[in-house]
Symmetry: D2
Subunit: 344 residues, 4 copies
Amino acid sequence: MEYVKFDETREMDLILLGRVAIDFNPAYNEYVKEEFKPLKKVHMFEKFVGGSPANIAVGVTRHGMKAGFIGKVSDDQFGEFVVDYFKEQGIDTSHITKCKNGEKLGLTFTEMLSSSESKILMYRNCIADLQLDVEDIDEAYIKKSKAILISGTALAQSPSREAALKAVMVAKRNDVRIIFDIDYRAYNWKNEDEISIYYSAVAKEADIIMGSREEFDLTEKLIRPGMTDEESAALWQGYHARIVVIKHGMKGSTAYTCDGQSFSIKPFPVEARKGFGGGDGYGSGFLYGLYQGWDIIDCLEFGSAEASMMVKSNNCSDSLPTPEEVHAFIKEEKESFGEMIARV
Amino acid sequence: MEYVKFDETREMDLILLGRVAIDFNPAYNEYVKEEFKPLKKVHMFEKFVGGSPANIAVGVTRHGMKAGFIGKVSDDQFGEFVVDYFKEQGIDTSHITKCKNGEKLGLTFTEMLSSSESKILMYRNCIADLQLDVEDIDEAYIKKSKAILISGTALAQSPSREAALKAVMVAKRNDVRIIFDIDYRAYNWKNEDEISIYYSAVAKEADIIMGSREEFDLTEKLIRPGMTDEESAALWQGYHARIVVIKHGMKGSTAYTCDGQSFSIKPFPVEARKGFGGGDGYGSGFLYGLYQGWDIIDCLEFGSAEASMMVKSNNCSDSLPTPEEVHAFIKEEKESFGEMIARV
Amino acid sequence: MEYVKFDETREMDLILLGRVAIDFNPAYNEYVKEEFKPLKKVHMFEKFVGGSPANIAVGVTRHGMKAGFIGKVSDDQFGEFVVDYFKEQGIDTSHITKCKNGEKLGLTFTEMLSSSESKILMYRNCIADLQLDVEDIDEAYIKKSKAILISGTALAQSPSREAALKAVMVAKRNDVRIIFDIDYRAYNWKNEDEISIYYSAVAKEADIIMGSREEFDLTEKLIRPGMTDEESAALWQGYHARIVVIKHGMKGSTAYTCDGQSFSIKPFPVEARKGFGGGDGYGSGFLYGLYQGWDIIDCLEFGSAEASMMVKSNNCSDSLPTPEEVHAFIKEEKESFGEMIARV
Amino acid sequence: MEYVKFDETREMDLILLGRVAIDFNPAYNEYVKEEFKPLKKVHMFEKFVGGSPANIAVGVTRHGMKAGFIGKVSDDQFGEFVVDYFKEQGIDTSHITKCKNGEKLGLTFTEMLSSSESKILMYRNCIADLQLDVEDIDEAYIKKSKAILISGTALAQSPSREAALKAVMVAKRNDVRIIFDIDYRAYNWKNEDEISIYYSAVAKEADIIMGSREEFDLTEKLIRPGMTDEESAALWQGYHARIVVIKHGMKGSTAYTCDGQSFSIKPFPVEARKGFGGGDGYGSGFLYGLYQGWDIIDCLEFGSAEASMMVKSNNCSDSLPTPEEVHAFIKEEKESFGEMIARV
């Protein structure tokens, strides 16, 4: 069954709206290896494009999809780095604009303490991505696309909050599918009620919602707290959702479809370098499968494989694989661990 | 037909959320008469409680309804004046709290240039009412009431914006009727897209929506601009609205009900002192009729009469009449101008 | 001895820099008398131009001096009221500019509880006068004047703080006498250290300093706290001060001159309507005498008389007297109470 | 002649007040060499403690002086990195406090385009160092030190501005020598008048002033623009300055002493890696010489040598030399280029 119908006449596959930033990761390459240690003791860093929707934009583009990005960058060398990188990847950057009041690109310094412990130190005060404005939302652009992906981080503060909400309203009236990637970051939010108000406002309009159990709990706080996954899925499907994906970290994740079915997947076994980037790989892979018209369980397996490939890597954007690499990884893992290794 | 069903077991009739302020009107009483003139030339002023939801709270209480108010006032003599006045009227003030960071009560200086021209000069920077916070929204209180009235001005800025949106969500899950009085004031809003985003968010959840044609246009900008009254009514009734009241100033107003009917009324002929306060009288009278279970056309006539009584007066809160006074005014007007004077 | 030498070739006598605001005082006139009562219970108000340097500008102009004002007003009817009023008085308003970001004129609501108790409720958030900017300081204008009076309130916040400090530097390099009227208002200041830093920065450059003992204590906190009046005078005379006037309210005030002398005066006995406005009358009268070349003790007596006339009145600006009226008042008081009534 | 007399009974030599930050420099070490290129193309960075007064604190401590630091750092791993590093160097960190509202440590990304072209990209919005508050200025601490060094950057914004001004006042009344290192950074300042106001406020109180010609021009804008070095020196010596050092980049610098003498020095010839850090080496070396009681020309030569050593290096703090290393460098340079190589 085709749960989400994309309009094949649209020239773009996906427009992503939200945060693009720079990741500074402890150097770990052929020249230098900063082993697991507290961030304050790291001396050398590698610079990468980062930010969840930016990574998914890179991921789906590497899979051959046609993506564009609506975002705001700093008017400096870092802003140029990001736009240059997107262009090299083939992402449409026509709707990325520069800040005018000296706001800077977000920075994420990653701390890798062990294969199971990683943290981030974020620079997100007076930050470029949250300066996205309603003026930046171009209806003519949005309606060129089959779908728009809203990253929940864009809802954390005005004026980006209103830009994201406008994009949802504009997408709705132009029959553009809405994908909501909750992507919770504590930074910039003032209180939990606010999170529930704005997450739920977008979730009510979304065709696809993706998030962890904790993220759904935050979203549902003012509607009905303490729901099970099945109840959450039913709630959102009572609005517009066709597919609700709820993740439980290493325990796996489940996609609930609007016909009452559910499909579950587990992570593939890998040695992790860090805890970040898995979700972006998952999103890229899952959406790619969906656009191909695959069965949901195959979309999930592909997403899960891509997630596992990402946590092994030292970064989030540069390491995103091609479909061939994902297929090869799945084949290899299945040969080692059995055909059903990721199935529940 | 009973379009909106109120839960008669609830102890309060109506909780109003939003702006309470002070009106300084050119003195016009038995001692001093500041005739029509530019504000800068006015020397003596009279002080009154003001703000649309505050006035409606006074109005319905004078009609015998049990009302409460959720709002924020300054921690000074003006804040005390407002709370004292509410208490004298019989309004429950248990959920009016004081600002902690020196924010001041809003002030409205009214300029009365002629019987058809009046303007206002507002003090609304760092203002008390917009400091209402999600912490101030008490579910146990809201669920005591048959209905909550949200004044659109409360949506103009954070943190009041989120407080109002939370109140709507809390009302919804407790089956409290939601009345949305759009009450547009240009002050504090940043752009028109923002207005449409937040007005429509509340309008989608409301059982009753009241506003002028211009206010509906602002609300609908990002959904479908340029609608007729009938189209607007149909749009909101497609969500949750049972009654949609659209006003056209001196040309009259129409209530569209969810059974496809519409009922129209005109103003009663009076000599106006100012252009303000009519809407608050209208709202008080219309809601009173509705709570009495009257036919819609009678609710409208009562509201229209109360509106006409208000524009004749020098102020907005002190002059709000009792039901007996409204009935007497209607009787007198009909005797002078005919039974159908306000009917279309 | 001529303690302060004014350059008689300059076309203007005095430019005042700082706060102009509106006073709303409980109505007390031939039509309406709001007797002593808490502010919240006052129903009718009279509107007057207010703000200490504004009042002194009015005062010295009524005495025949040629004054100008550097200030910022709101872009509304209240801003126009102030400028119109200044023009009517004969004050040069060429360097009063309008705010561009919606800042409003300060408002002062006066509470008159008894003849010895009065308070004020101030509206000073996002306020017009504190928007004065370094761009507003015009050297060509300042050097036209014999002296500039800096009101300490202008130092409470940026950008007005820097505008005032620039005016002092510009006056200095153009040999314009600097008069510092400390005029402390708690509002807008963040902490006492800040007050000492900025008050002392201006006091160090001033030719004449006027303030209460409390105001000198605030000024000296980071230099040497706990000084006597004599020590304070000596400290500032060690910088540039020629005359230091220290006030002790009802106990009288003393002028310390740079030749080591001191001259004291007491208030004239009157029935006070309020505690405000006395200082402005005092400043106007004292400066007038000084410009006339009078002996210091005569300047003080004239200032003290004008102060006493002001506290009797219901307002601060409209009641400022002409020199003839002050002379008449002194004559009358001396006839009633003896020649030495105000002398110490 | 001993131009500046330090109180030898004080236990500390120098307390520095101002900015401590992190420098991210393109990696250039035995493992990785990021050659000259635009910042956006740099992939690997090395992290160092940075900020002019922080570097001077490190420099003088390496020379054996007892230094302390008054500053504000972020409450995160970067803040801890800075404090740990200071402690390792032997700097007293008892008066470095942590920000409470999420402000972050300043970051400086250095762009090295060629040996003569380098730029910086600064993160200085909502920045930790400018949160220094008057509450952080501890008189008991300041009076333990022979001198305090105020970095002009601390004057760029409140509340750090007032903290620095308070420190100057407190130093003054405790007979602590005041060293003003102008250290102009365009970031955070609003206009040039403001710069002149605050720089001159500190310069008027300083015993030693160090800055470039451009920095003196900024300082003197509102006093007398367009002065020569000799006029500048005379102006400040007319206040409290004993030594005024004015730098002209590659053309060398001159120290003007209060006895009317002047002493000039040139840079030592080296191949520069970057344009930054020279001033910090200069300051460290010059002050070290002064504390040793050397002749001014020897202080200058030592400072100039240390400056030359710094611009050769890839960073500003880690490469600061010991006195032995500076002496060795001078010896070597003189052997290569002649005894008078740096003398004018």
